[in-house]
Symmetry: C2
């Protein structure tokens, strides 16, 4: 039996479901969660939509129809089939493994390359742009009607996981799915405004400071900036507000790489966290991060440091020079 057929079979032969996704959910996680729940309800199933933990949802997804989302595990969860969407492995499901151990059956639907196939039934499509893309194929097999309410969360997963149709996973199939979802009633303008046009004012102020302090070196190929502990308090920003700021530095014309050195606004962790991004395919910033005990991917990596900010910047520039000289000499 194909993976899709196995999931179809499981859905048809059960009536009660608990649908969940990973902690700190992104657009594909929340889109998959909502779309799966709506599809099962349309099929006449008894569905609880659940997310572990108490952390508030990212506010850019505040416009989604997630009123039914439960943050407490229902008492009858052992009687339900657990459907985990967009989760690469069990540990991403939250702090409470009891959910998985006690579920009647576990269905794992995900598109991550490193999915551990932790379910009793696994639909893992590593070639899919998003979990939402996999779900569309599944819904077709299940005979689920593509209503506007269902098209919207699927589009949210698709548009966010492709970085607004920018990454390499922007395949012809992904774009045709986008077309189908718009045809089915997904409102691209509403989704765009909700997801991409709801920037906190304090985040703009934090961005202003990071951009103002940005410095270029190495003939314009390295862009480095920093945020101080006091910045967060002074502009009224929480730590997650610094996310995405490095992308502005990375986009500088002629840049090979960008680094953002941050002093976390609170906590007992390291004094400084450093994010690295490559602007060109040739550079592997994870190699640079490893020199400082960090890690990551070729294009996005990071490390922690106790050194002063100026010293960290100097070290990054030195390692960039060493790395690119080695490559040039190879």
């Amino acid at each position: 039996m194909s993976d899709v057929a196995a999931v179809v079979d499981t859905v048809r032969s059960h009536d009660r479901f608990l649908v969940t996704t990973h902690e700190n959910p992104d657009g594909d996680a929340l889109g998959s969660l909502l779309a799966t729940s709506l599809a099962l309800v349309q099929l006449g199933k008894d569905v609880v939509m659940y997310l572990a933990g108490e952390a508030p949802l990212p506010r850019e997804y505040g416009f989604m129809e997630l009123e039914e989302l439960q943050r407490a595990l229902p008492d009858d969860h052992p009687d339900r089939v657990l459907v985990a969407v967009d989760c690469a492995n069990e540990s991403r499901l939250g702090p409470d493994p009891a959910v998985l151990r006690s579920a009647r059956l576990v269905v794992d639907i995900d598109h991550h390359h490193d999915n551990s196939r932790f379910g009793d039934v696994n639909l893992v499509g590593a070639g899919a742009s998003s979990t939402c893309e996999l779900l569309r194929d599944l819904f077709r097999e299940l005979g689920v009607e593509l209503t506007p309410e269902l098209a919207e969360p699927l589009y949210i997963g698709l548009v966010t996981d492709t970085g607004r149709f920018q990454y390499a996973n922007t395949t012809p199939k992904a774009l045709r799915l986008a077309a189908e979802l718009v045809e089915a009633g997904a409102d691209v303008h509403r989704i765009f405004q909700g997801v991409y046009e709801s920037i906190e004012f304090a985040k703009l102020k934090l961005l202003a400071r990071a951009l103002d302090r940005a410095q270029i070196s190495d003939g314009g190929r390295v862009v480095i900036s920093h945020l101080l502990r006091g910045d967060f308090a002074e502009v009224g920003a929480a730590e997650p507000y610094s996310e995405g700021i490095i992308d502005y530095l990375r986009a500088v014309e002629g840049a090979d790489m960008a680094a953002l050195i941050r002093e976390p606004p609170r906590g007992n962790g390291p004094s400084r966290r450093v994010s690295l991004r490559a602007s060109v395919d040739e550079l592997d910033v994870s190699a640079l991060a490893r020199r400082f005990g960090g890690g990551g991917h070729r294009q996005a990596a990071g490390f922690s440091s106790e050194a002063p900010i100026e010293e960290i910047a100097r070290q990054i520039r030195a390692e960039y020079t060493a790395l690119t000289s080695a490559a040039a000499g190879a």
Copy 2:
């Protein structure tokens, strides 16, 4: 004969063409220009690709294969069929109307609503997302093969005119065309990096100043900032670098509108130019602009002023209050 058939007929029955587009070209203009030229060359035609004026092309399109572009009119232009792409009317073709008057025949291919049908043959598709979308249909009729070299400029027109698949013209047809172009070899990552990831360092510095000075008022619904004459010189920015900055202000969560007050870096014009953007569909900022002798569209408008910056900001807030109170009372 349909509009498409008339253009097909004209192409088939002539051998020498002069392809051009509007001054200050955007992505759809340059994409249409290059794609049309390549298609005609593929059909064995003698083609000159021409753009009036001497202004350098926007550098975000510097990665396009425009080496063959001529900025001087060839001597034999009266013998050529003029193909004007993405031009709403003759005046957009540049300062030299001789081009039009002397051409053997004028073909007008465009998607603007207000196209004046200035050609001898007109293919005007106001429902198309972009002129590039119209061209794809034309190329199909002409039997032009969709090579990677042709798919790239068509994709550039499509992605820029839909605002990265954000505006209301992001139709199912536009998205299916995007899919077809990726399939034909358009490299979305290369296009994205070229068009959207080549920000001048000085522009980041200008952005930093505008964001740092941004103020919210009226319960967070109005966001106003300004750029001083000295800012441009201090960060090494030219006037066009301030373009797009207002979009950051407009995107503030909860904002109804944004205003950016600029002192032009040089010149004899008005002391201050004010750009206005609506963040919500309900607000018509052109009504606000008209109060100050300006104009524009519902979502984007502007005016000029001799008043001091603080006074302009005060006036904008007062007019916003008047406008929204009137609407609430209506």
